[in-house]
Amino acid sequence: MAGLLVVGLACAIGAAAVHAAQAKSPSPVSLEYAVKATYLYKFAPFVTWPPGEFASTNAPFTICVVGNNPFDGYLERAVAGRGFGGHPFSVRRLMSLTPDAHCQIAFLAQLPAQDIRQALAAVSGQPVLTVVDSATPDREGIVQFVIRQGRVGFEINVGAASRNHLAISSKLLSLALAVRDPSCRRTGTASRSGSVPP
């Protein structure tokens, strides 16, 4: 099963990314997490943070990886030299998420010290895009990675996003497998199934 998944993912992600991953990574990370790492920083352009989020025009854009690090340094290499509108990406490792963490994006995987709920609650109302790994599903996160038909997809909780004062581009929403808005009691289910890679 895991082998099949890996094969599927290998086909799904960009060959260049694979090349990069292979070239830059002495210890190969799993393709699934390579794709997830890529998605993490690609979310940034489709999300609007409230004004005043950044202290200066060239302040770093911080991606926090909370808990166990599944990327094994791949994320750091992938964002190296990239930025978001003048803010260079930087990756921080946290064991637990606290309200004063100052993250723009927080990736929550296996948390040894904290419950996912606690971590989410810690940054609730703060402009932090919380991304929950598919291994630890929790619907209160803003973005939830899911694996469907061998592809990495994501669901979006619009209510959680608005609680955290974030606006998410409709383009991103249209790609989401599901869009949830608990405040409206409206649960958008996946409008379209993930396509099978050619």
Binding site: A12, I13, G14, A16, F84, P197
Partner: protein, 490 residues
Amino acid sequence: MPANRDRKPFGFRPAMMVLAVGLLLLVGALATAYQYRSGRIEHRRQLVTQANILAASVTAAIAFDDRVAAQEYVNALKLDPRLDAVAVYNEAHRQVAGFRREGSAPIADSGLSPGDWHQVVVPARQGTTTVGRVYLRAAALPLIVQLARYSGVVLLTIMAVLMLTALAVAQSVLTRAHASLRRRAAELADANQRLSVEMEQRARTEEALRQSQKMEAIGQLSGGIAHDFNNLLMIIKGSLTLVQDKLLRDDAPAHVAASVRQRVVAGEAATTATPADTGAIARHEARQQRIRHHLEVAQESVERAASLTQRLLSFARRQPLSPQSLQLDVLIRNMRSLLEHSVGSGVKIDYRLESRRAVLCDANQMESAILNLVVNARDAMPEGGCVAICLDDLRVDAAHPVSGLPFGDYVQLRVVDNGTGMSEEIRRKAFDPFFTTKPVGKGTGLGLSTIFGYVEQSHGMASIDSAIGRGTTVRIVLPHASATSTSEVA
């Protein structure tokens, strides 16, 4: 020719027409080029806009490698038949989505050659982050579509050129017709003028002919009458002379002596005349005196009648002339005292004798003619004035013709006064015999007619030029007597 000069500014000028057509074609070509260029720019702008729209829509699909979503966006563009191929590439130069029509080449992610206006590329940006590129390639337009696009301008240009050409042709035809009309009008006017001149000349000739016929007729009539009359007068004159001679030879004393002798024979004393005889003689003489007086009156009348017939004969050109070669200036100079005596003190005579040529004419007649003319001139100036007697050479040739005279050298005598002049009607009758404007008993009406006859008989010409208030000029033209003719006479 004025027609030619007028024709120029309005004339048809092929060069101008060709220039206009050329300009028109140039403008048409420019308009077509502009349309082509602006069409291309517009087309390219549409392409760019389409590419931008696609790029904006497809960013998320590129970023998260969602080929299905990307292809959906791309397929929407498939409906546009003007698009030949579309390609969406991600950051890693991998094609995410795209399509191409049958037969068209795939789009490579390798920039564009600058001259390729069919193809556009725009970056797909989300915010400030570039996630990929979108390529669009327009289909090459079929030739027929391109032609149809410019057919409007081409058609308009062709129409304009055709119209111009038609206009030019019409103009040239009109101009030609106009020119020929003008020519014909000019010819007609010319012919008309010639005709009127000829008519005038003909009228003059007819008038002259009538005048000459009239003069001829009058001359013949009066000449015939005068001739016969003259003969009769000669007989009467001779008879009168005979009667007078007879009367003078059988004088009164002889008659008385005869009666006395008869009485002596009868025995009466013949020594003394009786008183009765004396009375008889006196009565006889008185009677004789009366008869002589009557005879003299008759003879005088005969003389006058003879003079009249003479002048009539002169008018009729039947008078015997003794022509001789003479210089008129000499003749006139010799007449000066006579002429000045004739005109009196109130009139001045101006002599302008500039001809030395000899003419062949009768000196006596010439003198009387000049005297006559000068006296006439004086009579035309009752309040005095000036008479000019002009004498000059005259040459009649083709350049200076004088009607009624053959070409040759002439001497012209003019008697000019500045008197009352005469009307045209009177002028025409002036040479007629017995025509006079003078009171009854003052003029015979034969003066000018005598001159006319005399001049004609001398192969010359006499004419009058006059207008009321401007005086009168009588002109006598006599042929120059050449050396040969002079010697012949001499």
